[in-house]
Subunit: 329 residues, 2 copies
DNA sequence: CTGTTAGCGCCTTCAC
DNA sequence: GTGAAGGCGCTAACAG
């Protein structure tokens, strides 16, 4: 493996010049630059990243810690982050916390050990509750999950508002006993639940909200209970794609046809939401944009460490489909 | 940030002893070991990875290059790889090639620059065709995609066999004009197509195979043409989850009900395959196992570099659902 | 504008 | 069993 001094010798210059050219510094003659580039080419030289990182104390690496990589929302966010990061000459280390605060903490430690330039994080509830920017040796951008009072760079959806609009849509379609099944372990789930409460209260309707772990299994179990309970709802709403999946499974299990026997709606426009039954009404999130906004914010913060805290709020889009078809009373 | 010499001073020993204890080397007194561990604890010392990597010339990092992270198959494989890697004290750098050989090459270069200990790769067709183990400065394990004649560690499904079984199932159910839409840009798609050909030939049936890029959009377009063509098939089979998705979209578009008007089947048991219409018959892949087998194989190879080439072949499982219901003739 | 040189923090021989 | 010391390959002062 060729080293920098081999390049220097081949080019007939000093290692400093080679380093300067490779770092893209100004203040080098075009002649020198060309000699260096030729030598690099000739030797197939690739700088040793370990040495560079040790010396420069920078890694040009960012950490991305998602709460559940199986959730297509996060898959898409990851894709966006990765795309943009590599375009900016940054690497990405991905961590999947599986909604487990302990695993999340492990990954945060790992990011510290790796001396990353910054981290994008979708925090679990306990971590978010205790979040202090300055507890971390790197800039952090929160994504998807953030409380109103959290002081941190963040990119989120207008959760309460979107849930409110979705609920209002169902009410408008004639539904009255709307049950809301939400991920109780995340700020996002809770905010969406609040939006639901607001919309229902505005109409003077009774609320029926049920918090569950954000998995299809948990949602299915919860829905099963609701459907067998004394007070049968006339519509079900899920606070994210995985929960919505559980609801569909439960309805199928109970052989309830939507929208005729039960209205249905939820969050996240997944590949299948348009294909099940008459299609499912959802709030679509601009997932790629969310990821992109997060990395841009992080890069800005890395470039200007003292930059003031910013929050980017994106709007969810209501996609009406058959599952919220008008209720005949 | 505390350094190793701070720990040495605090413990009243030399840096060499600290290094030895941290590396888990034998030949250190229990007393010394304890003094070191106490000092590490007291100072909250964390070794500097950049320095360690420069000195030791090892990164304990593995690269994972998937061809399309949006394909749930690869999401699940990634999850498995990551889980196991971290359990073994290894980091993972993820690259998403988006089925683009150029992007794939970029990531392979990146892995070289990062001096990774090994790579898990689901290669695009051109890369696979030219694949030579010894062209890479690190051990490589292929995953999902591999030709019969490729000389390389690999973990794959019994593609031809699975496609054969799936096709035979449809024939048994009474279907005759079975069209096979497959990802032409991957070894896997082609092998599955061969399995389909074999099964059809065994029954003396005419084949109708159509290669497309492995995306839902391309599959939908292809299916649209088939459905409007002169020779209407009586069943559609998709060679992976994304293609299957496109087929479902096309059927919906054409308002064709399955299985009554058109049989349907495919690969990958995704969250939604049981929920669309009467459920879709699929070959389920043991995705998590595939990822796990890949990383185990890689770790073995890293530990024993001269180990002979191994191939792990896993079996797909046929899940019969309504979409392949008996055809009334 | 270019070259010389001193480390970045750690591991690992080599003596003792 | 332990300690002293020399790099790993590179960057960035500093001097010219």
């Amino acid at each position: 493996m060729a080293q920098i001094k081999d390049v220097a010798k081949q080019a007939g210059v000093s290692v400093a010049s080679v380093s300067r050219v490779l770092a893209g510094h100004t203040g080098v003659t075009d002649v020198t630059r060309q000699k260096v580039l030729d030598a690099v080419q000739a030797l197939g030289y690739r700088p040793d990243l370990a040495a560079r990182r040790l010396r420069s104390r920078r890694t040009d690496t960012i950490g991305l810690i998602v709460s559940d990589i199986r959730n297509p929302f996060f898959t898409e966010v990851s894709r966006a982050v990765e795309d943009r990061a590599y375009q900016h000459g940054m690497r990405v280390i991905l961590g999947n916390a599986d909604e487990d605060p302990q695993k999340e903490a492990l990954y945060l430690d790992l990011m510290r050990d790796e001396n990353v330039s910054g981290v994008i994080l979708s925090p679990t509830l306990p971590t978010l509750a205790r979040f202090r920017m300055h507890d971390y040796p790197f800039p952090v951008v929160l994504v998807d999950r953030c409380e109103r009072e959290t002081v941190a760079d963040a990119v989120v959806l207008d959760n309460a508002d979107a849930a409110c609009r979705l609920t209002a849509h169902l009410v408008e379609q004639g539904y009255r006993r709307i049950a809301f099944i939400y991920g109780a372990a995340s700020a996002t789930g809770r905010q969406r639940q609040e939006g639901y409460m607001t919309a229902m209260a505005a109409q003077g309707l009774e609320t029926l909200a049920k918090g569950v772990p954000a998995t299809a299994d948990a949602a299915r179990t919860a829905a099963r209970e609701l459907l067998q309970g004394p007070l049968l709802p006339d519509a079900l709403v899920g606070s994210n794609g995985l929960i919505l999946l559980g609801l569909v499974e439960a309805l199928r299990e109970a052989q309830l046809v939507f929208p005729e026997q039960m209205g249905l709606a939820g969050f996240d426009d997944l590949p299948w939401t348009g294909l099940v039954g008459p299609g499912i009404t959802v709030i679509a999130q601009p997932t790629y944009d969310i990821g992109q906004a997060a990395i841009e914010l992080l890069l800005q913060h890395i470039a200007h460490p003292s930059q003031s805290v910013r929050r980017v709020v994106l709007r969810g889009e209501l996609r009406e489909r058959g599952s919220s078809g008008r209720r005949m009373v």
